[in-house]
Subunit: 348 residues, 2 copies
DNA sequence: TATTGATGCGGGAACGGTCCCGCACAAGAC
DNA sequence: GTCTTGTGCGGGACCGTTCCCGCATCAATA
């Protein structure tokens, strides 16, 4: 593109470049660059003159050129496996929303920016983005996307265990302990028929939690009673709950492992003439702060997305800084906040 | 950096470049580039050979170099003025969350990715990011950040009116009509003492809405009764509501213009022995779908963030594609969803 | 057989910065 | 007066692509 073209192509004025400033100031681009960056050996006068000229001309360095020279992008991609049908709605999930913004904040504190990617992205979509690493939330078990990224030399951080692959960093949750803490709590409140509303997907989260549920029931000689949601989102979970409450005698307790807005679950129970917690105990897996303010307040199992983000980003950022690609992982605990919805007031 | 250095500097293997593939395939980098991009005049054999070699070596083009050559970044920054104290918590607001993800989706459909920026970002923070444009949500009136971006030649899209500055694109809401629709509705239900819980900030939204409220009250000879929240977020709004209900006789109606989770507002009223809607009518400005499922369902004023995003991104993307920097704007309507919380069942 | 045109591929500039190094000059040491 | 050391600035390679050309080769045409 020659000088004339720079004029004609756009109505916008052409960006002023380093050479333009240098020419105007009667200096070399090397000198101007050093002056602006505070590097090199320059007299105070020349430095000031270069800076003043740049300011006057409205010069702004081309970030892309800088990054090319620097050899890194300082950009981290974020994507989520869930919500495949509505690629972007994952921000509606309090869990993913919290994971997203905590991650973004930590990245930025370390000089990285975070870019939102569509979750169902084929390789072509993000291939033009200069990302240094990718965060993949809620991956499937042995997610092929992880291998795609790693094969491309892009480190990956997931919130599910990814064993021993170079550049793979994971944070894991002790799903078995989490599931048992909920079930034990409900059992202690006298529940015998505990319905599990589980997310229907290929995530380790769903699979390992279901295993624990079945094992726990087996150990106690209780018949498992689980339903799976068709897809993520409030609607599907509510539909599953509605169906469970429609068929046969109502259960003692409901545990919504699939993420759902707590007050909506109370609503469904009420629609079937069931009062929480008098007729049915309720525990939701949710990060929604509204849970503490429902009537009654709802017991929640929190996956602690902020803790997951903190642990994972520490691993990832360390790796990016050091260039060390040894895979690593951490396990973070969950938290059960017991509230009125799962406390039996009167034994019947 | 010579060949040896590429080895030593990082534990990770050096990225394979186009020249590496070319050398391995016995071709020139021009030819390999053309082969991979499907351009140029090449025999089918050479094209296949180049592709196969690239695949075998795990070649992935350097996105930064591509962008430098292409002259654009295809990256759009997103930031929000609210929530200054907690720079990232803006994703907790359903309004901003919806605006964020709708924007991201639209951007990506047009080949742009969206990067999350901290809202209080000084120029230094994002200066290293190759953004083609910036979206500034909830700007202050005459926000200086807008001028900063425009001065740097970066187009800006805001969800508030920004008049006549080159590169400025805005979507605006008829705050007066929105405010009056709510007040008229409440008045029609018999409310005389309508408390407005307004966001305390410098946004046009707050200022113009307050003007409308005062005008409406003036026209009817009603004494205005407004309280301002100290900062964004549920806690501050609930505190304001709590204080209003503590002092003097309870009002007929509450209109929370500041964004708040609807069930929490019901809760506050109940804490003061007030039933919604029997004792006090309630309207919330909220995008939270939970509003339709509370007990009672809560009337909401929706700012329609998805519509805002759609209109604004159309303007912005058109401008980016055409290079035309003529400022432009649109006005989108709000929506009032009347539910039980603002319907007086029995006149007293 | 010379001329044309199409075909297949490569050389090298360009994108806009950063940074290594070298050169000129001045000042101090012996 | 030479030798060293330090200072101030500029030349030009380099990051990894894309793309404009130009140079061969070869078939078709006159």
């Amino acid at each position: 593109m020659n000088e004339r073209d720079r004029r004609v192509r756009h109505a916008a004025p052409p960006r002023v470049r380093l050479v333009d400033v240098a020419r105007e100031a009667g200096l070399s681009k090397t000198t101007v660059s050093a002056a602006l960056n505070g590097t090199g050996r320059l007299s105070a006068e020349v430095r000031a003159h270069a800076r003043e000229t740049a300011r006057r001309m409205g010069y702004r360095p081309n970030a892309t050129a800088r990054l090319l020279r620097a050899g890194h992008a300082r950009l981290i991609g974020f994507t989520a496996r869930e919500y495949v049908e509505a690629p972007w709605s994952y921000l509606e999930s309090p869990y993913l929303s919290e994971l997203t913004h905590t991650t973004a904040q930590l990245a930025l504190e370390h000089g990285y920016a975070m870019v939102l990617l569509p979750n169902c992205s084929p390789r072509d979509e993000w291939t033009d983005l200069p990302v240094d690493a990718v965060i993949l939330a809620d991956p499937e078990a042995d997610d092929p996307l992880v291998d795609d990224f790693l094969a491309a030399g892009i480190p990956v951080f997931t919130d599910q265990r990814v064993e021993g692959r170079q550049g793979g960093y994971w944070v894991d949750i002790d799903y078995d302990a989490a599931m048992r803490s909920v079930l034990d709590h409900l059992a202690a409140q006298g529940a015998r028929d505990i319905v599990l509303i589980a997310p229907q997907n290929d995530s380790q989260w769903a699979q390992r939690s279901m295993d624990s549920y079945l094992a726990w029931c087996g150990e106690r000689g209780i018949a498992p009673h689980a339903v799976a949601t068709q897809r993520p989102g409030n609607a599907a979970v509510l539909k599953a709950a509605d169906e469970v409450l429609s068929e046969g005698p109502p259960p003692d307790a409901l545990f919504a492992l699939a993420e759902v807005s707590p007050p909506l679950m109370i609503d469904v129970a009420r629609k079937h003439g069931l009062s929480v917690p008098d007729d049915v105990l309720l525990v939701c897996c949710s990060e929604d702060p509204v849970a503490a303010h429902c009537a009654p307040p709802v017991t929640t199992l929190s996956m602690q997305p902020s803790a997951i983000a903190a642990a994972g980003m520490e691993l990832l950022l360390d790796a990016l800084e050091s260039g060390n690609v040894e895979p690593a992982g951490r396990v973070v605990p969950t938290r059960l906040d017991v509230r009125a919805s799962s406390l039996r007031k009167t034994r019947e």
